[in-house]
Symmetry: C2
Subunit: 226 residues, 2 copies
């Protein structure tokens, strides 16, 4: 991982974690976790709103209601889109060295609106099919009013950074002699058995794309590989 930071303001200045400017690392984080937090500035004040993102090639997309305050403020404005996955609690022999295993990616840029209606629908289908392959073809198509009410935003993945920690505790050398338990508590995001809507028609079956859906799992720390 020797890529240079795309810009000074995305250069990770300090971290006891691995900072990377490799596109592949950023893409892997975006592809693993749809939940993101978009930051924007309104009247000089920062706002941070959770939403879902998806990636198409070297661009990141998100969407929302056309009436949404957060989306209207983000139009042609500077935004910061951050995706974070919590992978574990790192329990060390001192409080100072307690840490977290995680993957996070931050993308800075200016949000652009997808104006073309057909393109908008195509992007939304890509979003839904990215999570649930084929689902866009199983559901009722968007109507004109819904297209109007939905705004799709995107920005190029140009200014970005990622931070990844996936290790065991790293303690001060003298602390290893202390009789204190250290290690990692892994954290997973998993899905449970889908809960059917009682109003489903009696002969409707759950499609494979819903039955087989899984959240991407983190590679957990393996001390044997250290």
């Amino acid at each position: 991982m020797t890529a240079k930071a795309p810009s000074e303001r995305t250069r990770v200045k300090r971290a006891f974690v691995r900072a990377t400017y490799e596109r592949d690392a950023v893409y892997a984080i975006l592809d693993a976790q749809p939940l993101c937090h978009v930051g924007y500035v309104k009247d000089g004040h920062p706002f941070v709103t959770p939403t879902f993102q998806w990636r198409e090639g070297d661009r990141v997309y998100w969407h929302g209601s056309s009436a949404s305050q957060a989306l209207r403020a983000a139009k042609s404005a500077r935004v910061c889109l951050t995706v974070s996955c919590l992978d574990g609690f790192v329990m060390a022999r001192s409080g100072f060295h307690h840490s977290v295993n995680y993957r996070s990616a931050m993308i800075l840029g200016e949000a652009e609106i997808v104006e073309d209606e057909a393109a908008k629908v195509k992007h939304l289908d890509t979003f839904i099919d990215g999570l649930f392959p084929g689902q866009s073809g199983l559901i009722r198509p968007m109507n004109t009013q819904e297209k109007k009410a939905t705004t799709v935003l995107s920005m190029p993945i140009e200014e970005y950074s990622a931070k990844i920690r996936g290790e065991g505790p790293i303690d001060d050398e003298e602390d290893y002699a202390l009789p204190i338990w250290a290690g990692v508590i892994p954290v997973h995001q998993t899905v449970g058995e889908p809960i059917p809507d009682p109003r489903n028609l009696p002969d409707v079956e759950m499609p494979d794309c819903i039955r087989d859906f899984r959240m991407a799992q983190a590679q957990q720390w393996d001390p044997a590989k250290d």
Copy 2:
């Protein structure tokens, strides 16, 4: 849930979710999920950084390295601290009504630094013991250098809002006649078996506070209760 929005800028303008300005709802979200995203403005650009938060009474705290760019920028500056829990994917009969079950809380304010060294240590102990009761007494105490290197920030929970969705799909009435599976895929954040550091002393046992640690679980949608 009839509380008034604490300010115009935290009033949830529109949402197909339940917006609430009840303190208890915000507190419950903060207490359930340590991961937060802090937004701040630097040179007119928003930045969103993941970190851990904890609550003490009517204040929210977070910490980090005293050398951290994000923490230095947040000092006495306007910040937005957002906590989001993803609880489920809501699969509807149209793409437009696909949704997410989640709980999110947003707090706006000015970050204040905890200057007093003894207070700083006390807050950090409260943080660690909040997750792992008693852990602060089991580990090696902070030394002077570590205290200096750690910055604790806080802000009052005064301007805030919460959004909660924990329901099944809500489709257009005519779409219920379509042979499309709808329902909710629950999402859970769970912990796995703790992984011991191979450098643990041979007779050291895992403390109960680590063995018993669990992430708070969301109340999932129960159609029988609708």
